[in-house]
């Protein structure tokens, strides 16, 4: 919303649940059935007869598909539905990537109803169990042996039986079993413009993600990965984007690399999630003095075909820490926020969990209680600042 306001774009916000102001501002607020993208596109088509729409942007995995349906229906810039759906469906995505010889872990689709004990004897270890639809690594569990597989299967089954997970229907009956790829993980943020991937940033993830659960912590950019390997990572992501059929808009990819080269782990047709995008600034912020252009502004401009001032990230190193979930319980208070904000290079500490909110650790949960942002001359000093700030926080749970 802020990005649209900054560049003077009139906005219609669509949501699944009706805003209480929908009747008062019918041009600015629209209620759509996100679970039925075709119907949502029909509704927007009708809406656009009186309120012309010139661009559409999804903000997460589900709305990326709705946005694709609307773009197809209204002939706006966007991805074809099949590509957006493949980006969300982890199994379909892997099939396309495998067909295109993009390096990915070996994978197999299974029904939750299959006998886990029997299946456990047929699998190569270590492996990773993955739900098809959940995001932010929720429900993703590594198993190192048959006993671990059976336990992981039981936990995943319980997660997928929860109402909000089960609501997606058939995809919640299945899961993937993937080969565990050892190695160093990076995230890649990109913008696809007319089928061409522009890499906006590669983030290092300095904390090992070896499981058994895959809670993210620190993202740092620019990457310290050697340049030739970065080139291989970009090439791998580019091939994945083409294989899945993404032709326009933001992409977020997770990759690993080891002695065998880069591996594509996940690809999404959306930008980096939630608050993390605040870590990215482009163009005028090059000296670290100006505000720069935000990722959201770039995405809005791209969707409308407006000129984009710059796709070049600022000169300074930047990082964000997704604050690890400190345990299970209701959040009473967070101490040390002021002290954390006072750490040199720390730009902000945002606590997004509210008092009384139940914090649920991985793999059942995935909602980080907050975010820490830092900017500095090098990734090393930014990382140190993030860790220092995090050490000063104390979460009081009941």
């Amino acid at each position: 919303m802020e990005a649209a306001r900054q560049i003077g774009v009139e906005l219609t916000v669509a949501s699944e649940q009706a805003s209480t102001f929908a009747g008062a501002n019918p041009a600015g607020l629209l209620t759509l059935d996100f679970k039925n993208p075709e119907r949502a596109a029909d509704d927007v088509h009708v809406f656009a007869r009186t309120q012309p729409i010139q661009g559409v942007v999804g903000v997460d995995d589900d709305t990326a598909i709705v946005a694709a349906a609307i773009a197809e229906r209204l002939k706006l810039k966007g991805n074809p539905m099949h590509a957006a759906e493949a980006a969300r469906d982890k199994h379909r995505q892997r099939q396309l990537l495998a067909d295109a010889n993009v390096p990915i872990p070996r994978f197999a689709l299974h029904l939750l109803s299959e006998d886990a004990a029997e299946l456990a004897t047929t699998i190569r270890y270590p492996c990773v169990l993955k739900p098809l639809r959940l995001s932010a690594s929720r429900g993703v569990i590594r198993a190192d042996n048959p006993q671990g597989f059976i336990k992981a299967h039981s936990r995943l089954k319980a997660i997928l039986a929860q109402p909000e997970a089960a609501a997606c229907g058939e995809p919640a009956w299945h899961y993937l079993v993937e080969e565990f790829i050892p190695g160093y993980e990076v995230a890649l943020e990109g913008l696809v413009v007319n089928r061409r991937l522009h890499v906006l940033a590669i983030f290092d993830k300095p904390d090992p993600l070896d499981g058994p659960f895959f809670e993210e912590t620190i993202y740092l950019t620019p990457s310290r990965v050697p340049a030739p390997l970065q080139a291989a990572i970009r090439d791998c992501a580019d091939r994945a984007v083409r294989a899945v059929g993404i032709v326009e808009g933001p992409v977020h990819a997770e990759l690993r690399y080891n002695e065998r080269g880069p591996w594509l782990i996940e690809l999404a047709a959306r930008p980096i999630g939630g608050r993390c995008s605040a870590v990215l600034r482009f163009g005028a912020g090059g000296l670290g003095l100006g505000a720069g252009v935000t990722l959201e502004e770039i995405i809005v401009r791209h969707s409308l075909g407006m000129p984009i001032p710059s796709l070049q990230r600022e000169r300074l190193a930047a990082g964000v820490m997704m604050i690890p979930i400190p345990g299970a319980g209701a959040l009473q208070e967070v101490r040390g926020v002021t002290e954390a904000k006072g750490v040199p290079l720390i730009e902000d500490v945002q606590i997004t969990a509210h008092p009384g909110e139940r914090l649920v650790p991985f793999p059942e949960g995935s909602r980080y209680p907050g975010f820490i942002f830092a900017r500095g001359e090098t990734p090393a000093v930014v990382e140190a600042a993030l860790r220092d700030a995090h050490r000063r926080l104390e979460f009081v749970l009941s």
């Binding site: 919303m1 802020e2 306001r5 900054q6 906005l11 916000v13 949501s15 805003s19 209480t20 102001f21 008062a24 501002n25 600015g28 607020l29 997460d60 995001s135 932010a136 993210e216 999630g273 939630g274 608050r275 993390c276 600034r281 005028a284 912020g285 670290g288 003095l289 100006g290 505000a291 997704m322 926020v337 002021t338 904000k341 720390i346 730009e347 902000d348 606590i351 997004t352 509210h354 008092p355 009384g356 995935s366 909602r367 980080y368 942002f373 900017r375």
Partner: protein, 206 residues
């Protein structure tokens, strides 16, 4: 009170606006808004913040333990917020009241009478339209003041900390006021959303 005992948390709203939540009251029982260095004269806190070099402050709103600063400088809050925090801390640590209460209309501010009339109109819209709407999601919106045709409000209940609060504010309340009270020049949300205990929608998870 010693400056070191005062805790301040900066909550940027966007690159122009930032709320500073102060651990002690800055102005009890009202709201003051300053839109220029001239208006800031006589209010030590406002003078100090308008006087920060290079910040180009265009607006300052003080209410309870919140100080909302609007700047024109492109510098990110992360770079300049500490100067604002220092100004707040230093002023509060002195013996002089940081901000005097709002002058009465008789004291010579010609805009105040217009603001009173606007206040009545906005209050009516809030009572009759805005609050019945947000109440459906367990929320409420409190009209704090109108100064120089700028409405200051505070969100509570389901609206406080809600992931859709900005949508409600910009696509809902702002649009409604533009239609029904067109003399309103802007809206400032002085809610401390971080302390919302029962938001209607969760914020994004990652």
């Amino acid at each position: 009170m010693a400056a070191a005992d005062i805790r301040i948390t900066a909550e940027p709203i966007d690159n122009q606006r930032c709320k500073f939540v102060v651990s002690v009251p800055v102005l009890e029982g009202g709201v003051r808004r300053f839109s220029s260095a001239d208006e800031a004269r006589g209010a030590p806190l406002a003078e100090a913040i308008f006087g920060i070099p290079g910040l180009a402050v265009s607006e300052l709103i003080v209410s309870g333990n919140l100080v909302t600063v609007v700047k024109q400088s492109p510098a990110p809050w992360q770079a300049v917020g500490k100067a604002v925090g220092a100004a707040i801390r230093t002023t509060l640590a002195s013996d002089v009241p940081p901000v005097a209460p709002a002058p009465s209309p008789e004291s010579g501010n010609p805009a105040a009478g217009n603001d009173d009339a606007l206040y009545e109109q906005v209050a009516k819209v809030f009572d009759q339209q805005v609050n019945p709407m947000v109440a459906r999601h367990g929320g409420h919106v409190e009209l704090i003041d109108v100064q120089d045709a700028v409405v200051m409000l505070r969100m509570g209940g389901g609206c406080q900390g809600c992931g859709m609060a900005d949508v409600t504010l910009r696509q809902g309340i702002e649009g409604m006021l533009a239609q029904l009270v067109p003399a309103v020049r802007g809206i400032v949300d002085i809610t401390d959303h971080a302390t919302g205990a029962n938001p209607y929608f969760q914020a994004a998870k990652k």
